[in-house]
């Protein structure tokens, strides 16, 4: 097949994949919501979960996005250095978003800043957003696609603490977000925490943390322990589904970290709403694809 045809075939797959994760939540999220709903005891919290599950069923039956805010598309790309279409990826993902906007259909969510007009195509200057990671000696590509909605993006916060504030300060920072903006961000939330040097490094890590499948833990023992402490602590606040109070608050807490400057602790929080629309797909060098986030689906 010519390169042009190959590129077009990858655009088609990605466009269909975007439409898929706009209507169906990944397996791990579906399972976690089911589990959390069973722990709720108040009639109001139970009925909210029932409405949520009915919604997911209807979205599949009617073949349409499960939430009206299909977000700004963000892609976390882990590309092998020898993947043959590296230079085409930006074009492929942009065109896939344009196609999915019509086919899914997606809401028009790209407003050019300063000129303040909606492009109507879901792409604009710098959108969709693509974050790159190059993997040596590999020839495949892995893509995490995410719909960054307004509601779940609003609580996003980053700051640089002094080391004196310690991880106690990190704890305070994370929990303050939960009871202020987090409350309105469609709990039960997935909470991503980034710990690094400065605001942008911490912020990117906090978003990357949201791409990790539920039930995975940070490889550092202390960080993993802190994930559990934060999860239990935030759950004890009892935000409940939609913040109307209940027995749980979060689907999980994921921490991603790097080394830091000795004088700073950069910390950031990103939240994912219950309708956590994330999809993971891998293409080999011949563009055969495997979807790992959603089982039993075909594009």
């Amino acid at each position: 097949m010519s390169q042009e045809k190959q590129v077009q075939s990858m655009i088609d797959v990605m466009s269909k994949f975007i439409a898929l994760f706009a209507k169906k939540l990944p397996d791990d999220v579906e399972k976690k919501l089911e589990e959390l709903s069973k722990h709720e005891t108040s009639p109001l919290a139970k009925s909210v979960y029932e409405t949520m599950f009915l919604n997911q069923k209807l979205a599949m039956e009617l073949n349409r996005p499960c939430c009206q805010d299909t977000g700004v598309l963000q892609f976390f790309v882990k590309a092998g250095e020898n993947f043959p279409y590296l230079g085409k990826i930006e074009h492929i993902l942009t065109q896939a978003v344009i196609d999915a906007t019509v086919n899914a259909p997606l809401r028009h969510n790209s407003v050019e800043t300063f000129d303040e007009y909606n492009t109507g195509r879901n792409v604009g200057t710098g959108t969709p957003t693509i974050f790159w990671e190059i993997v040596p000696d590999q020839d495949d590509i892995q893509i995490d696609g995410y719909m960054a909605g307004g509601g779940c993006s609003l609580p996003g916060k980053a700051m640089v603490l002094m080391p004196g504030a310690g991880y106690e300060g990190v704890t305070q920072f994370v929990l303050d977000v939960m009871t202020s903006y987090g409350l309105n961000a469609c709990p039960p939330l997935l909470v991503g925490v980034g710990i690094a040097t400065s605001v942008e490094t911490a912020a990117l890590l906090s978003k990357k943390a949201l791409m990790r499948p539920l039930g995975t833990h940070n490889t550092n023992e202390r960080a993993a322990a802190m994930e559990k402490l934060l999860e239990d602590g935030i759950n004890s606040i009892g935000l409940g589904p939609q913040g109307i109070s209940g027995n749980a608050s979060v689907m999980g807490v994921h921490i991603e970290n790097t080394a830091r400057h000795p004088s700073t602790i950069g910390v950031a929080v990103s939240t994912g709403c219950w309708s956590h629309r994330r999809g993971h797909i891998r293409f080999d060098k011949d563009l055969n694809y495997t979807i790992t986030s959603h089982s039993g689906v075909s594009l």
């Binding site: 109001l44 949520m52 919604n55 939430c67 805010d69 809401r107 307004g150 106690e168 913040g243 109070s245």
Partner: protein, 205 residues
């Protein structure tokens, strides 16, 4: 318990027995109205192109699709609430000027909206967020649309709905606010959680 259904135009006496935490439904009309529409009315003094006295607004930006073969008819695909707090800055004055009786959105609203709901007799309710297909199937028809220059999410979509809900009452006409009440409890529990976690994370020694 029978379903409590409000019908537009809503009268003041329809609202007096409704309290925070109640679940109600709406039949009649609801108009999507969010950030820029609020700004146009309150900051720029442009009157809304839809009469919503006794009516309902929905803090929502839907996905709609043009119905093929029509000039300007649209189908509701997916519609769910957006964060109501973004409209807090304008809502008190908005309720006073428009006579709107029901505001549907997501999450809580603040003191201004509480004051206006009490003085003017109006409710703020939450539609379970993210449940946008459920809501879309309750829209019988988009009767018309205004201010389309604002783009798909911000256009005023005039929807005829039947038993639209569940709507969880978050601010009632008596000055009560579900989210503010919850927040007091949440903050107490938060402080306890911080104290507990802090005992275990003294990694810098």
């Amino acid at each position: 318990m029978s379903k409590k259904v409000l019908t537009t135009p809503i009268k003041v006496e329809d609202l007096k027995d409704i309290k925070i935490g109640d679940v109600i439904y709406l039949t009649g009309h609801i108009v999507t109205c969010r950030d820029v529409a609020h700004r146009r009315l309150i900051e720029y003094g442009r009157s809304l192109p839809v009469d919503i006295a006794g009516g309902a607004i929905f803090h929502a930006g839907p996905i709609v699709r043009k119905i093929e073969g029509t000039k300007d008819k649209y189908e509701m695909i997916s519609i769910g609430p957006t964060t109501s707090m973004r409209m807090e800055k304008f809502e008190k004055e908005f309720i006073k000027q428009t006579g709107v009786k029901l505001i549907v959105g997501k999450g809580g609203m603040g003191q201004g909206t509480m004051d206006a709901c009490k003085e003017e007799k109006a409710l703020h309710c939450v539609f379970p967020a993210g449940c946008a297909v459920v809501a879309a199937t309750q829209v019988e028809e988009i009767e018309r649309q205004e201010w389309m220059d604002l783009g798909m999410p911000e256009t005023l979509w005039v929807c005829r709905v039947k038993e639209f809900g569940p709507l969880i009452v978050s601010i009632d006409t008596h000055g009560d606010n579900l989210f503010e009440k919850n927040k007091i409890v949440f903050n107490q529990k938060k402080d306890a959680a911080i104290t507990e976690i802090s005992k275990h994370v003294s990694f810098i020694k």
